[in-house]
Symmetry: C2
Subunit: 701 residues, 2 copies
Amino acid sequence: MQFLPIKRLRTLDQNSKKFHFLVYILKDPNQMNLSAKSTSHPLPLLELTQMANAIRVLSMDIVEKAQSGHPGMPMGMADVATVLFRNFLKFSPNDSKWLDRDRFVLSAGHGSALLYSLLYLTGYPDMHIEDLKAFRTWGSKTAGHPEYNHAEGIETTTGPLGQGLANAVGMALAQKLEASELGAEISDHKIYTIVGDGCLMEGISHEAISLAGHLKLNNLIVLFDDNGISIDGPTSLSVSDNQQARFKASGWAVDEIDGHNFEDIFVALTRAQNSDKPVMIACKTQIAKGSPNKAGTSAVHGSPLGAAEIQAVRTNLSWRLPPFEIPQDILKSWRDIAEKNALVYEAWQKRWAALPKAQKEEITRRRNGDLPSGFEKAFQSLTQKFITEKTSVASRQSSQMVLDEISTVIPELLGGSADLTGSNNTQGKSMKAVTPQDFSGRYIHYGVREHAMGAMMNGIALHGGFIPYGGTFLVFVDYLKPALRLSALMGIRVIYVMTHDSIGLGEDGPTHQPIEQLASLRAVPNLHVFRPCDAVEVAESWSTAIALKSTPSVLTLTRQKLPLLRTEETENLTAKGGYILRSCEGAPQVILIATGSEVEIAVSVHETLRTKGVPSHVVSMPCTTLFDEQDATYKKSVLGAGLRVAIEAASPLGWDKYVGEEGLIFGMTTFGASAPYQDLYRHFGFTQENITAKILEKLGE
Amino acid sequence: MQFLPIKRLRTLDQNSKKFHFLVYILKDPNQMNLSAKSTSHPLPLLELTQMANAIRVLSMDIVEKAQSGHPGMPMGMADVATVLFRNFLKFSPNDSKWLDRDRFVLSAGHGSALLYSLLYLTGYPDMHIEDLKAFRTWGSKTAGHPEYNHAEGIETTTGPLGQGLANAVGMALAQKLEASELGAEISDHKIYTIVGDGCLMEGISHEAISLAGHLKLNNLIVLFDDNGISIDGPTSLSVSDNQQARFKASGWAVDEIDGHNFEDIFVALTRAQNSDKPVMIACKTQIAKGSPNKAGTSAVHGSPLGAAEIQAVRTNLSWRLPPFEIPQDILKSWRDIAEKNALVYEAWQKRWAALPKAQKEEITRRRNGDLPSGFEKAFQSLTQKFITEKTSVASRQSSQMVLDEISTVIPELLGGSADLTGSNNTQGKSMKAVTPQDFSGRYIHYGVREHAMGAMMNGIALHGGFIPYGGTFLVFVDYLKPALRLSALMGIRVIYVMTHDSIGLGEDGPTHQPIEQLASLRAVPNLHVFRPCDAVEVAESWSTAIALKSTPSVLTLTRQKLPLLRTEETENLTAKGGYILRSCEGAPQVILIATGSEVEIAVSVHETLRTKGVPSHVVSMPCTTLFDEQDATYKKSVLGAGLRVAIEAASPLGWDKYVGEEGLIFGMTTFGASAPYQDLYRHFGFTQENITAKILEKLGE
């Protein structure tokens, strides 16, 4: 749909202390501008202009001081941002984590100076003018691109294009889920995001837009900075999409405005408040608006304006103060916004205070990321059950058993899969699917959209209140890697459930068989990769991953059946990363180190070696990162002395660290092949016979 | 646009021996069906039905025999494929690499049984009935998903969704470029691709569709298997896109047909022949059409039908013969296609024969992937120039200098960048940009579409005649990794130019600073990763990469300035992967191993150690893979004995292999930060002072 033109006023309801939006639908579309420009209009145009110019001047000065950065986008979107923050955005600088705040996501993260300017101008207490001066320097809050946790009010890390848009879709979904649980009195916020041409060219934008439209996330408002400029030059060099038609094709409401006309901006944002669909507003802007000689050119996309042009902008905007000084009246206009919002905030706090104590505690627990009291016990009884019943199933299936149990104990678990639910075994039996009509479920059909799934899970985790996990095949982690990297960089708890984790998936062949993925993931800082060898390690991996509040985890699971190897109750050994699973009497001659489905083979080699009088240990190493974190004594006690042998049906890269120069590595140095998995294991040498023979040969040298 | 309804007949022009398409535009759209169904219509409906049923039965039997695979898609698209191959596709089973053949890309690669059936039925000499029986078994030509080079007629490896579509866009672009050079008499083919719901949900589809529309690639025809089923169930679980509107928004011509109505299919494909835009035909189909009890359900997406249902299909289709037997008359109908095509093929051969000898040789050279005779000399003089002029620039800039020179020597080089031309330095000075109006250029503005760039480069390399390379920042290799993996799996020459290759990019911060990317790439089989340390190594890396016909390469280049370290003319040392760059007299106590921008630091450490009486070697290791391929003697001569120290501003994963358990690794175990790069190098310990101190400390232990 295109919106019907309406007129809308934002007023504060003195009784409820909520903002009211008075909406008049104009019958004649041609009346719109007339109406918006009538004298009774509430927009003080001069004040808005000055407020927007404050963003322009601050942003260009920030970039100039650093001699690095992107001034064009902040100057171009200053008018839109001013109306958004002044007239629409619900936020509290003194309580930046307020549950019911609107979220503002700067998907076009290179325009970070815009965000930092806004945080300073609106009075976030930890954003000082000195922080703006420290833009892009060591240890500052104001990094080149917005970094989550560097300053209050930065809702997510952006910069890699398209990610913020998909984060915003995840946040909008999380709000819908939250509201279905808590009601609109507690959760009634919107998600706003500014996206650029680059965001909309990236493939992830399609996945995010398509799913947002499908789910009818009408709490999501996308502001498209339609400036027609990208780094290589005018966007006409490489793109001819009709973005409005594109969004409409995915079920969005769309609008197009002059992004420098305050009334246009106001009217469009007003119309967006009551949409039944997500909304995209194409804001026609001029990059670096206000710069007399450089506006509208790609030269200002990613370079400082330079001293001469900075002076020309000051003259052009009649801006007299030197860099980093804002006239008091303009600063007051900006700071007044928080005061108006404070009334809304206080009214919400009263509603919050009226909630039952137990509910408040539960909400607070979940928002703090703490786990429910039954958490550990649930895992203990699961492990006991696996041991008692000798559960010997594929690890994707034991993962399903874990989820069936714990999804009832941890209500904030939010599952999903990129169209592989039955293969990933990711839907806990109590988990109902979310639909556009019903957000009370706790399972998301992400569709064949791995990348959006990853970035949406980031948005869900950042929004708070949920622990998202999502599944696909391990090889397709490549499709979502840019999002996973941001999970790790931000330090948020997102769990990636990656099944079909080796050539063990068999017939689907090399396109579907991961080889380099395990090494690739282990190279990512602040990420835990688990490759459990049996049902007990699966339970331990889940338990450890869920308890790691500040890192994402990847669980890699098999398609093929695995025997139960951990037959006795112990502490959580997976939490140590690696441990001795089978030992010999006295000093071992051989230490067999394996992960996942190859531990079974290692145990078999161990037993065969024993019959040949060669004592060995088997080390199961479900998480190399956690093992690396153990103290030297423990590590030495596990790896010991002797011939060390690593067995993993994946790239050998990284295993030299554990086996040393004299050790042996059984890995995959080529891609896989299409055949039943037993044939593949035989052809690629992952058999007890081959490995035992090679070890004996090595010992005999 | 929507097409005007037309009527079209394919007839063979006896003079030119080319197919002619007689097109009648019907004034009244309502006449279309009437016309198509008129008795004068050339389509033999019964024959077509039998031909399509041959695909259905073969495909279900192939999957049943393997007890693994996807019968639903081949059965659903059998009718469309029959008309396409019988009435439109230009191909020669006996010359499967014919320059002017139409390309058929099965983007929905899980439906591989469709392709294998077609190759057998149309008479490709290397596809025997025994090959079909060997589906998904070790060593067969008929892998689970189509694998390039496993059998003639498989134009690309597909399976990871969306890749084939983007390959097809690349092929269509390559055809346009080829035709602009050779003329339509020699190059006048089309690219057809079958895509599924999954392909169109993947983000890469947006990038590919958007760029194809922008470039007006009217030689591209997409057949969308619109069956409404994905693995999780009906697509309505997760997608509501109006695909026709979506393609139109990107400048495509679209059509919608009943994918089981031969006349509809015929008319739509006819209309598509003369479009001025790329064409998408939404074919409404029933998955597993022909299966009385399972058609239209997700159960047949990825599982064999089972013996009972197989029998029910045979009854339903009145198919009497046992598995893998095709009635002679039906097989003859299929084999006759090649005979008709043979006339067209022979006519083309005559036109080819009439070309000047030198032109034929040049075309043949390029299609064989051989390099021009001036290749080595051009690189020699470049290297000499760098040494003479002591070229000390960022490696992205020396790469630019290389491209400026060699792009004139190697006319088949086809450059591009994902909207970072000025940063990647990828546009050779003689390279004109390709536009929708002019395909004579040799530079592609891919836009902010890394993933499509990778997959399109695969398509371009597969099409033949060009050596594609494309640029982005190294960190954004994550965005295109699934395509790069397929370059490596297929063994095709695609060159990825990845600049800004470490924290050395400075202020843009951790979102833009690669950490794990080098290790991740080195773990990929059949891929060469180059990280040159100066201008000479840059030239050697380019020379080596271009000469590697059967592997893709990644060149990682700096943003920051590098000194010239290779000051004497030698053989191509980069081709050895690693070599001694600076040596000491006698045996070294320390071996410093570094890559790229860290080699400069290693040289500085080497010199400082010398002043302290500690002799050392510096090993430059631009390509670990090539070094690993050297013989043991050479490797030992380079790495020697002594304290081995690796220095690389990236994840340490993988370096243990070269430094051993007693060695030192200076790497990045965390993400980077936003600051000037000199500050980052200091803070993260990549300085002569820090490294020297740590080495002396270690030696003193």
